[in-house]
Symmetry: C2
Subunit: 107 residues, 2 copies
DNA sequence: ATTTATTATCGTGATATTGCAATATAGATA
DNA sequence: TATCTATATTGCAATATCACGATAATAAAT
């Protein structure tokens, strides 16, 4: 459909949609699951675990990181990814608020 | 990238991603907000409210309905949409579980 | 029967997403 | 320096998404 008409919607609506988009690909959910488990893991290991190529995995990692859900730091040639707990909590709150206000309206 | 490699991921991971995809477009968030407010509203009204064409609005409605988050019933020539509270609650649980298990791993 | 009103579907163009091979970048090591 | 290792970026092909005009379908109203 061509381009999404974001300007028609409020900032917070766009924000929630943007974050949902990050979670809308199974590879990115799997990545978050795995990074949560190992707490500080490498693109290579993630790639092998989720069975996607290194470039594809790296791209998904960038998307999640850009959204703020992952932090990373280099150590030598390795980049260690871990979950940004603060951001994850904020996001949890965003979704919770959406569900609860929607629910409240209907009740 | 061509097609998404769903088969690499678990059922529940794919499920969560599918539901996130429904919420990944601002128009669909806006629709859920509006339908929650009016509780039983028409495609035409929704379309005018969110300022997207009737066909586009109808398509978004089908996507949300197919995911189970909306129910509808015809009355005369009008179709009344309302939120499926049970499904919304289930979805809320899904996200909550994802956030909490992810959070627990990191803590 | 014709018109009006509401919604769904089809077809299409524009854009975005997904995936990977090839390549680039940069630190570590021989 | 040359090589190895880990990651990021580029370029591309395949596919999916988004938006809407045109059209179909259906029921109410005239």
């Amino acid at each position: 459909m061509g381009v999404s008409k974001r300007h028609l919607h409020t900032m917070s609506v766009n924000q929630l949609a943007d974050m949902a988009k990050v979670l809308s690909h199974p590879a990115r959910i799997s990545i978050l699951n795995y990074v949560g488990d190992c707490d500080g893991c490498l693109c290579k290991d993630i790639s092998e675990t989720i069975k996607l190529s290194q470039p594809t995995t790296s791209q998904h990692l960038q998307i999640i990181k850009k959204a703020g859900l992952l932090k990373s730091k280099f150590e030598g040639k390795s980049q260690y990814y871990r979950i940004n707990i603060e951001k994850l909590n904020k996001l949890k709150g965003l979704f919770q608020e959406f569900f609860e206000t929607t629910e409240a309206k209907c009740g």
